[in-house]
């Protein structure tokens, strides 16, 4: 009787160990995205020069080419067009990932890790995303 109990206990412990060590799918999806990238030093200088007006990015706000948005991100920073523009996308392209729930941290077609490189808390550009990229800030 005692032997049987010990065997059952050992099996239960094994199952418990396996469950604890198994990595959930959610974690894998999220981890690939939240990569803390070092912001190159010259980006801080560039951001400061934009703010001070040393680098002229125009005064007209807007998303159209020739206005501040593209002047900063495309002209000055040289971000690739393909970071934001892809050849074909649905209306909901910002968050959609086939077979992946947005609740599982799908980054969307526009990978915001690019945005958060500068727009995170304490980053060189205007802070938009607080604690972006901080591990533990994710859902379980």
């Amino acid at each position: 009787m005692r032997f049987k109990f010990a065997v059952l206990l050992a099996i239960a412990a094994l199952f418990l160990f396996a469950a604890c060590t198994q990595k959930p799918e959610v974690e894998e999806v999220v981890k690939e995205k939240v990569v803390e990238k070092e912001v190159p030093m010259n980006l801080w200088d560039t951001a400061e020069k934009i703010r001070s007006g040393e680098i002229d990015v125009g005064k007209e706000y807007g998303m159209e080419l020739g206005k501040r948005w593209h002047n900063i991100h495309a002209e000055v920073l040289g971000l690739k067009c393909s970071y934001c523009h892809i050849s074909s996308y649905a209306d909901d392209f910002l968050y959609q990932r086939k077979y992946k729930l947005p609740v599982r941290g799908a980054p969307g077609v526009v990978d915001r890790a690019i945005c958060t490189g500068c727009h995170k808390q304490g980053g060189p550009a205007r802070e938009l995303y607080m604690n972006a990229g901080v591990e533990g800030a994710m859902n379980p």
């Binding site: 995205k33 909901d92 609740v103």
Partner: protein, 219 residues
């Protein structure tokens, strides 16, 4: 401190889009734009497959990137935690649309009507003065879910508790035939939403951006 929010039970949502239709009608959202929509996902491999519906609307973030991104300072978060766009201040720069990681802000490029011939419905033909300020939309501005602030505001003025009945809840909540949507004060530990969040596995979308959404999903 009151902080209104939504809880959406994904296990109950059947993807019927009643919330989408109710929102469209209530807020006079023009064709092509959606303040509320439903994403669909397939999970698993044949024969063990299932479809999941994820209703999406403005997450009314505690730390909203759209507010910070707007050069015109047209977006603000009110004392009840609702993020609202001031249409008089909005210049249509669309920075908010780019900054929002949820893709729930839409731009009104031109006026469209529900009648296919371009004629306005009686509802659409209402003059701006006859509408709530949040329904005085015009081409060249951004729009998004207001958590039916006009209803909440009216309930508060009448001394009613927002969410206590049909008219004092966001339009998407009482119309849900599956009862998958809940509205209430997230800061009140005795509210239904708080209890659900505490008792079930409730998650926020894209929490890793530090936006701290006020819409929770029960999974």
């Amino acid at each position: 401190m009151v902080r209104y929010g939504l809880v959406i039970d994904l296990a109950k949502c059947i993807g019927c889009r009643s919330c989408v239709a109710a929102c469209k009608v209530e807020n006079m959202v023009q064709p092509g734009n959606y303040w509320n929509f439903v994403l669909e996902y397939e999970q698993g491999k044949y024969p063990n497959v299932r479809r999941i519906f994820v209703p999406m609307n403005c997450q009314h973030c505690e730390n909203p990137p759209c507010v910070k991104a707007c050069p015109a300072k047209a977006i603000s978060k009110n004392e009840y935690g609702v993020v609202l766009i001031d249409y008089n201040k909005c210049k249509g720069y669309r920075y908010c649309i780019a900054a929002c990681p949820y893709g729930v802000i839409h731009f009104i490029d031109k006026e469209k009507t529900l009648y296919p011939n371009g004629e306005k419905t009686p509802y659409e033909a209402l003059p701006a003065e006859a509408r709530h300020p949040l329904h005085r939309k015009k081409p060249g501005i951004a729009e998004k879910c207001t958590l039916c602030w006009h209803r909440i505001e009216k309930a508060l003025k009448e001394g009613k508790k927002p969410g206590s009945d049909y008219d004092s809840s966001p339009a998407c909540v009482p119309v849900c035939p599956a009862g998958a949507r809940y509205f209430g004060d997230l800061d009140d530990p005795n509210s239904e939403v708080s209890k659900l969040i505490a008792s079930r596995r409730a998650i926020q979308l894209k929490k890793e951006y530090g936006t701290r959404p006020q819409v929770y999903y029960l999974v």
